[in-house]
Symmetry: C2
Subunit: 535 residues, 2 copies
């Protein structure tokens, strides 16, 4: 149908209106919008020629590269459903996702496929593994794979209509990267992807021809739908296969980057680069994944970079809320503004509200916490930019949507101005003497000390209080600090009972493949020998 919502329309338009504009820069290779659309069409035909049926999944295991961007259009154009796999996962995890998704085809980078050969051989849905070309464009041959170029050669240039028969049909399945439990497949629809893409255009501030640096992995929530959103404005996708601060600064300075996005760890890395410098041109960085510390927000203001703070989950197509600045904040000192900006904010224009719920009423209706900035509850969302379901998991789907809203599992508070603040992933609360302590709050207090470069706070057992916070701190190069000094610093900034019992100085913090701190590992050591304990 011609009026059904699908992000395929965005490529149709960009390739018709700006055929010669650069769509993709991937190292030495560039693709115009006409060339991008041509490869999308050829690949879609090639997949159909293989026998791809509507709704069949096609898996990708690739870094940010031209072919992964092309897949975001080619797979749905062929009628398929895209499954992008986190490249930092273990071979077992990769094979597990391919198996669960039921994908018959896995297209990936040679160096990522090779180590998983044995595990992939056990996946009984998999018919063929296809190796992508190298960054140079050269073909890659593996013993157990065919060449991407050979796959493409089986395609044709016959136009395929950029339309869908059902806008609520799946466009992709994104597997969650939870540190515990089996990954779950989050189903995105054409309609949801289209609407969240428009929301990203508006809230990230994309305009016709924006130039986007792909620091954010495309395999996370389809790059927060920016794969589609930036194409909507006929923008230029600049691929970054590995996130190195020096490369980022080089590309900002030399290729006209206007927008980028990334977790606070990317911002931290950028700030610490020797190439960091205040910019003359306009650069907007959208950050999410964890609340950026006030000191990060403040530092980027000094670099003349506009930071937009958003929040969401895989289940919400990426960003769902935005910390939209209030007019009155302009008058505030930068530190105070940064404190307000570190909150997760309000639902985007194309989203619905974000609520914080305290409990359930009769017939499961949700009861909000008071908007007092103190009472913690669970953050819930709904609407077009919330997933359709967990793939092949009706039980988990039903549980997640209790009362008609999606339950994030994240805990937060709502302020009088309606803005929400994420305090903790559900499992990260410290309950000390009956009081709830947010590890994020303690982490922010520590991060505001100049000697602290990175920090994680967990609960440790305490005979008197049940639990108390303990901090793990990475020192800023060239700075030093004692435990007592840092604990005193925290006490100056937040309630004394929230100060850590002790501080361990470490060289680095353990992280998941997606950059989340592995607090479970930190806790294991501390809770050894105890019966209970947060895991």
């Amino acid at each position: 149908m011609q009026n059904l919502l699908t992000p395929l329309r965005f490529l149709e338009r960009a390739s018709a209106v700006h055929p010669t504009r650069t769509a993709i820069i991937d190292g030495p290779r560039t693709f115009s919008y006409a060339a991008t659309a041509a490869e999308v069409t050829r690949l879609a035909h090639a997949l159909r020629a293989k026998g791809l049926q509507p709704g069949d999944r096609v898996a990708y295991l690739a870094p940010n590269c031209a072919e992964l961007l092309i897949a975001h259009f080619a797979v749905p154009l062929a009628g398929g459903v895209l499954v992008t796999i986190n490249t930092r996962l273990s071979p077992e995890e990769v094979a597990g996702i391919v198996q669960h998704s039921g994908a018959a085809y896995l297209i990936g980078e040679g160096v990522l496929l090779e180590p998983a050969r044995a595990e992939l051989a056990l996946v009984n849905t998999l018919l063929e593994v296809i190796a992508l070309p190298a960054e140079s464009g050269e073909a890659v041959d593996l013993a157990f794979s065919t060449r991407y170029q050979d796959l493409l050669a089986a395609g044709s240039d016959e136009p395929i209509a950029y339309t869908v028969l059902d806008e609520d049909a799946p466009i992709s399945v994104n597997y969650t990267s939870g540190t515990t439990g089996e990954p779950k497949g989050v189903v995105y629809t054409h309609r949801g992807a289209y609407l969240n893409a428009l929301g990203q255009v508006i809230h990230q501030g994309f305009v016709d021809g924006s130039c986007y640096l792909w620091t954010l992995p495309m395999f996370h929530c389809n790059g927060w739908c920016t794969t589609w959103a930036l194409t909507a404005v006929s923008g230029t996708h600049v691929c970054l296969r590995a996130t190195r601060a020096d490369d980022i600064w080089h590309l900002i300075d030399h290729t006209g980057i206007t927008h980028m996005a990334g977790a606070p760890t990317v911002l931290l890395m950028m700030r610490e680069s020797t190439f960091a410098h205040p910019l003359r041109q306009s650069l907007t960085v959208t950050t999410a994944g964890a609340p950026p510390s006030p000191s990060i927000i403040e530092a980027f203001a000094e670099l003349n970079v506009r930071v937009i703070h958003v929040y969401g989950l895989t289940e919400t197509y990426g960003p769902y809320t935005v910390c939209e600045p209030q007019d009155a904040w302009r008058e505030l000192p930068v530190a105070e503004r940064a404190r307000l900006m570190a909150r997760q904010g309000v639902g985007m224009i194309t989203a619905d509200q974000a609520r914080v719920i305290a409990s359930y009423g009769e017939s499961d209706e949700l009861i909000d916490v008071p908007a007092d900035g103190v009472t913690m509850g669970e953050i819930v969302m709904r609407g077009n930019t919330v997933m359709k379901e967990y793939f092949r998991d009706p039980e988990a789907t039903e549980k997640a949507f209790r009362g008609g809203w999606f339950h994030s599992g994240d805990l937060g508070v709502r302020y009088l101005d309606g803005y929400i603040r994420l305090l903790d992933r559900a499992k990260d609360i410290i309950i000390s003497g009956g009081e709830n302590i947010s590890t994020v709050e303690v982490e922010h207090a520590l991060a505001s000390h100049p000697a602290v470069a990175d920090v994680a706070v967990i609960a440790v057992p305490d005979e008197r209080w049940g639990e108390r916070p303990k901090a793990f701190v990475v020192l800023t190069p060239g700075r030093s600090a004692e435990q007592a000094e840092l604990i005193g610093h925290v006490k100056q900034h937040i309630a004394k009972f929230k100060a850590p019992k002790s501080v361990d100085f470490v060289l680095e913090l353990p992280r998941t493949s997606t950059g989340k701190i592995r607090k479970d590992l930190l806790r294991q050591a501390e809770w050894a020998g105890h019966e209970s304990g947060i895991q």
Copy 2:
């Protein structure tokens, strides 16, 4: 349902996120977003208390004022359908629209209602006429109307969910302002209004808190859906009840206007104002209704105003195409850029393509003209931002959608770059010696002469050629020109056969209430005594 598309969501969000921000400025009165939402809710309750049923029409006859903006949310929130009537229509035309729409309520400005009293008394669907307050906010009493304030007083502050049960349900009916034939009621849906509003946000470049000057009447296509679009970004609506250039410049200079829109006549008026001056701040003016002449586009570039040229019809929710600049145009001389910018362009992101069709194939499929910039055909559109139907007129609806695309009745060409150019309303072509002549092209050629302030070209009978162009010219104050000089000027710029046979100098051109030149009146005199002739 909670995920159905409706622009009501935009007010829900703006009033929750920016309750204290100014939503509306209407002369001495200002409304915050909280106050706006409160009045919307009260009015919706009041209409329901009157007995308004889902789908019932509520008519408005009002200039750009706070209450008309409020109506764009209150009427649909009540479940009703908004019918905004052009304030420049005759009493008979106003009554005809109320009657055709079947509206039971007509809410309007006293000075507009008063002259239509007798005609309105004959409308058999009308139960009550309600007089809006004056610009000062004071109540207005007419012998045959009730007060808006009394209507409001019957409402309540009980929240109403900003949701709909069917996103394809009508939100408004906009009557076309054709110079011939009965006006037709164009039905907009919640979904179409939502999507075109997002398209307007992106293409007009609205951002959070944009300040919009309402030079464009809200009664035209619901202000091109900007009533909803600007609310989506929690912007400030500055009402302008009468379009005077000096007021426009005053408001631009003193109230932080960032955006406005209007027909080329408004631009012309602005350029000629003694207050015109190059701006330091950013101002974006979106123009449509007729192609702006290259000289207008050039003049605004000199004023440091960004001009966006869009094109659409009542049937397309206002703008459907945008003349999106190509990267290569930046290098061109301003006059050449202006010439390219005067084209109507390409379908917006939330629209589909705009096609120019030459004929029909078997089973009514449409056949495009070659993209040669010369072959004329009819411009057709489709998709979410094309009307649902003509209200209570299935025959006209079916005819308009022949082959699955909406037929605009406008003639144009397509260029090799895919951009379309509107050459003429279907009835305005001059056929001279078998060659088609676009009156617009001749008008542009004349308008590029410095002595020409305004111009209209029509076909006049010619014994040898059948028809030839004749021009009516309004001279620029303080300038003079002879007929021969102007004809020679045209011959220098376009094909000689297109030059007018004669030029009449007039003090002003006859226009419709919507600013379109009444070429039918010009033709009447010229074609008197002839059997055929374009009317």
